[in-house]
Symmetry: C2
Subunit: 212 residues, 2 copies
DNA sequence: GATCCACTAGAACGATCACTCTAGTAGAAC
DNA sequence: GTTCTACTAGAGTGATCGTTCTAGTGGATC
């Protein structure tokens, strides 16, 4: 793999542009954020913006989403690695997200989720960028659940649901200005992870048992 | 006069404005939708828009969110009422959402969730409007889970997680242009509902048991 | 049949949008 | 010290934003 995915040097101005875009996306979303705002927040004049990103706003947003998606992936893997069990990793992830949300006065939500909902039916290049990021997260979570003994199919379903629950928890918590829904989701989701891992370890029960 | 909540008569033009706004919100979100678009889609000139909604775009969006929030609440309660069990209601709800999403070419997602993520940190009146809608859904789901024998606290946690998982499922499905994540979330969430209800019916296990 | 009011109709307003353009600067290469 | 390139700088472009404005229309009321 190259040093950076599209092969760009890490010029400081370029980095500032992406950082500022990432923060503006969290607060205002795609349509609520303007190029002028990026210029002001990054202290980069218009000329620099279009020097580094000749394809304009969409190109900046696309790369911002990709880079912050990679950061979240690393964060997930770090938490997974340092947690004593998969179930503990789930708890740590939800609680960590809740703490971050509170510390930022309910601003620091995931920009990828916001953009995905906002532009998925009008801007296909950006839609597929969000899809790729989500897929990378689901892959990582699938691997984690599979390590705990879950069959591949169950692990993948659980991983997709994990991301969905986390993103939906961000949404409810932001709307409520209260991180409780996110913590609640962590409690409930840890429970299902406990149950599914325990079930997978008692093969007599089969893959998808129902109530007797 | 107070037949509808804020006390407005159901003038046909007014209805068309709200319907058009609801649809535009799904596709483009709050900032991606313009007053001119509402005017065109509802065949109502600017004069009519500001005659019925003197407070402008935000007032239109607020009422559109409230009315579609009420429609979803009724839909939820209808599905809950006609499903043979709470767990079946969950399955029906996720599968119904997935079918609707596919039938609409991945456009018909929940507008409340999109607006919540988009404006929650910049527009407090609209933020609290989305919060009220989410709360009404969580109340209804809490009642459903409580009816199945869950303690109030568990029912409320589960209800909040249900809404979070559903909204997050919409997001993943839309980004992927594939309803699989939504159906996966339905399978997983039905599983946790089965487990929690079964656990609640065997009081020897206590309220929040962990793995032995 | 004059008056009135709810509603229709869309042009016009200043602000802001994404983007383009010209001009200038700093430092490396020779 | 000239030349070249990478980057900075921000005014200017036409389009579109949310909103306001004036002008009209049709039907009920007196």
């Amino acid at each position: 793999m190259e040093s950076t995915p599209p092969g760009h040097a890490a010029h400081p101005t370029r980095e500032r542009i992406l950082t500022a875009t990432n923060e503006l996306l969290r607060r205002h979303g795609y349509n609520g954020m303007s190029i002028k705002q990026i210029s002001a927040a990054s202290s980069a004049p218009m000329g620099s913006l279009y020097h580094f990103f000749p394809d304009g706003k969409d190109a900046i947003v696309r790369e911002s989403l990709e880079s912050s998606g990679a950061v979240y992936l690393q964060l997930f893997q770090a938490i997974a690695a340092e947690s004593p069990s998969t179930a503990d990793a789930i708890t740590n992830f939800f609680d960590g997200a809740a703490a971050l949300l509170e510390a930022s006065d309910f601003i620091e939500i995931c920009p990828i989720g916001s953009v995905a909902r906002e532009i998925a039916s009008t801007n296909d290049p950006l839609r597929s960028a969000t899809h790729r990021v989500f897929t990378s997260w689901i892959e990582a979570a699938t691997a984690m659940f599979a390590t705990s003994g879950l069959p591949e199919i169950d692990a993948r379903q659980l991983a997709a649901t994990f991301i969905a629950t986390l993103e939906g928890g961000f949404m409810l918590a932001r709307a409520a200005r209260d991180a409780t829904p996110l913590r609640d989701a962590g409690v409930v989701f840890r429970r299902i992870v406990d149950v599914m891992i325990a079930t997978a370890r008692t093969p007599s029960k089969g893959v998808t048992p129902r109530m007797p």
